[in-house]
């Protein structure tokens, strides 16, 4: 299959049920207009996608072998839904209060009404591309007032063979947590070979509802990972998002949240750890539309070798959003002279009675801390790994759900042992 260079990454359209047709048509047209983002596009100024323009791609075809989940995550008690190249392959018995549906001809009304209403195709070419091309996908709904004890774990996998063409897939997920319901959602992304995974996850959190949303991006080092998580929240709800990014050649983790009620507690945190020539981009947007809400954002980056981190965070406080309490911070640790970080924290405030702070720091390991560990007999490699793990822990500590927090900590610690200890 050859590339359509006027519409890079576009492939033959998948089956489209009638209800989806208008949305798909609009999305395809929008993608045709937008094309791939260029560096001159402000939202992508630090992430160069030139390589994608000429990359030969083909639709994903499911291979057999899949990487295993990291042990700590595999041990987490959860209901696992296996999604290979965007298609649901298998799911265990769903916990009481949760229902699942496909985004196909049989999709129930609650799916049809919501898909495409949270993640906008307007200024987001990859969301438009996903909307035009997704094949499969899953929608989950937690019924009103239901408190779901067992986390749901979406296991995203891709297996691309050793070919010159990258396999592309567009996983699509919709999660609706109805009023007063509680859920913890884990997603993990892994694979082998060269592929592009362009995910869109739409999330709706009802009034008084609570959603923990924890993502591990450990995609293949040859892969491109583009993810849009679009969230809308209602009054008195809480949303706790955390992303641990260690994988892929180039990744963009974008989280956009609309705080559409009062007394919402909204958290987007994460840690990104890059080595080799990895490029890990975190972009967030928090839209404070109503008064009395709190948002908390802390990202921690660890960059080795030629690792490149990007953080772009914007908080918008609209005129009505008085008494907003917003905190935003990106901290990066550069462990090599050729590692790089671009930070762009941004506040746009139109209300006059708010408490907002933001910042960005860049640092290296402290010599005196390293020496203190050495002077107690801890070898240099181990000492570095301990200090870097402690650095990242501050972000991991924000994960509200304890077993998930410890699983993510173990995954991060494993990364330290492999990568930090190996660097002199």
């Amino acid at each position: 299959m050859t590339n359509d260079h006027s519409n890079p990454l576009m492939q033959v359209s998948p089956a489209t049920p009638g209800w989806l047709k208008p949305l798909r048509t609009a999305a395809a047209a929008r993608y045709g207009q937008l094309g791939l983002p260029k560096l001159r596009t402000e939202a992508w100024k630090f992430t160069n996608l030139k390589v994608l323009e000429t990359l030969a791609v083909k639709p994903a075809s499911s291979g057999e072998a899949h990487p295993d989940l990291p042990a700590a995550l595999a041990e987490l008690d959860a209901c696992r839904i296996l999604i290979v190249d965007g298609k649901v392959v298998d799911h265990g018995t769903l916990p009481d209060g949760v229902e699942a549906a496909g985004l196909d001809a049989d999709a129930p009304d609650w799916v049809r009404e919501t898909v495409g209403t949270i993640a906008s195709i307007e200024n987001h070419p990859f969301t438009a591309l996903n909307t035009a091309q997704f094949d499969g996908g899953i929608a989950l709904r937690v019924a009103r007032g239901k408190s779901v004890e067992t986390p749901i774990h979406l296991v995203h996998l891709s297996t691309a063979g050793a070919t010159d063409e990258a396999e592309i897939s567009h996983p699509r997920v919709l999660v609706i947590v109805e009023d007063g319901a509680i859920l913890d959602l884990v997603e993990s992304h892994q694979g082998t070979g060269a592929y592009i995974r362009n995910t869109v996850t739409e999330v709706s959190v009802g009034a008084d509802a609570k959603l923990g949303h924890y993502k591990l991006q450990a995609d293949s080092r040859e892969a491109f990972h583009v993810a849009m998580t679009a969230v809308t929240t209602k009054g008195k709800s809480s949303y706790d998002n955390f992303a641990l990014s260690t994988g892929s050649r180039l990744a963009r983790n974008e989280v956009r949240g609309h705080l559409g009620g009062q007394h919402i507690d909204y958290h987007v945190n994460g840690a990104y750890m890059a080595t080799g020539d990895q490029h890990l981009d975190t972009s967030t947007f928090i839209d404070h539309a109503e008064p009395n809400c709190t948002s908390h954002e802390l990202y921690k980056g660890v960059l080795l070798e030629n690792g490149h981190g990007v953080f772009q965070g914007k908080i918008l406080v609209r005129p009505d959003a008085q008494k907003t309490d917003g905190y935003q911070m990106n901290r990066a640790l550069l462990l090599s002279p050729t590692a790089e970080i671009n930070s762009k924290p941004e506040l746009e405030i139109y209300a006059d009675d708010v408490k907002c702070s933001h910042g960005a720091t860049v640092g290296e390991l402290e010599d005196d801390q390293l020496f203190y560990l050495l002077a107690r007999g801890v070898p240099r490699d181990r000492a570095r790994a301990i200090l870097v793990a402690a650095y990242v822990d501050e972000a991991i500590d924000t994960i509200d759900r304890e077993p998930v927090r410890e699983a993510f900590r173990a995954v991060a610690s494993e990364w330290m042992t492999h990568h930090v200890a190996a660097v002199g």
């Binding site: 010599d367 005196d368 801390q369 020496f371 203190y372 560990l373 050495l374 002077a375 107690r376 007999g377 801890v378 070898p379 240099r380 181990r382 000492a383 301990i386 200090l387 793990a389 402690a390 650095y391 822990d393 501050e394």
Partner: protein, 251 residues
Amino acid sequence: MALIEIKNLHAEVGGKPILKGIDLSIESGEVHAIMGPNGSGKSTLSYVLAGREGYEVTEGSVTFDGADLLEMDADERAVAGIFLAFQYPVELPGVTGMTFLKEAVNARRKAAGEGEIDAMQFLKMVRAKAKALGVTDEMLKRAVNVGFSGGEKKRNEILQMSVLEPKLCVLDETDSGLDIDALKVVSEGVNALRSQGRSMLVITHYQRLLEHIRPDRIHVLAQGKIQKTGGPELAHELEASGYADFAEAAA
């Protein structure tokens, strides 16, 4: 044979000569004190012995327990039995006291070809030693030295010393920043660790610490050299006359 034998030790920091020919020998089980004015090279000597980067030895030798100390990295020196109690203990955000101690103990066990220490046994051992020094469980659960008072930091140093059981303890101005009560607790902790198989090098500006930790020998360090050596009575002479004589003598 002496536990540590320092011969004609010269060292510089950032190209500036600080130690200008130190000769010092400590037998196993002995406690020596080094007294000296500010800027005499006291802390430099402690860092040189502990192997801190940036402290460059330009001449001389140090033999520790029969081995060439200057050929060893800082962590190897610690495993070999040198313990530096820091003048300014370092804060380690995110690393709990318990984790820190366990890492230090396991590094030694690994070097000795042993497996990791049993967690329960370790906890029991640390708690018993911590209790004697007034280090609470809560302090052990907190990040190392973060938010600790001056006295808590120093007690924490002595706890580490007691858990790691070194052959040579180098106490770098352990009395600085301590009130008289804290000084007593810390000194008692140090004295409890005095033994036949353990030597100590107590570095201090003031004589008061030596009222609590009685040394066998006292050396006066000034201008990067040991100017005088004597018994415990030397501390009192210095208390009376100050360091002025030595500064002049070397000038």
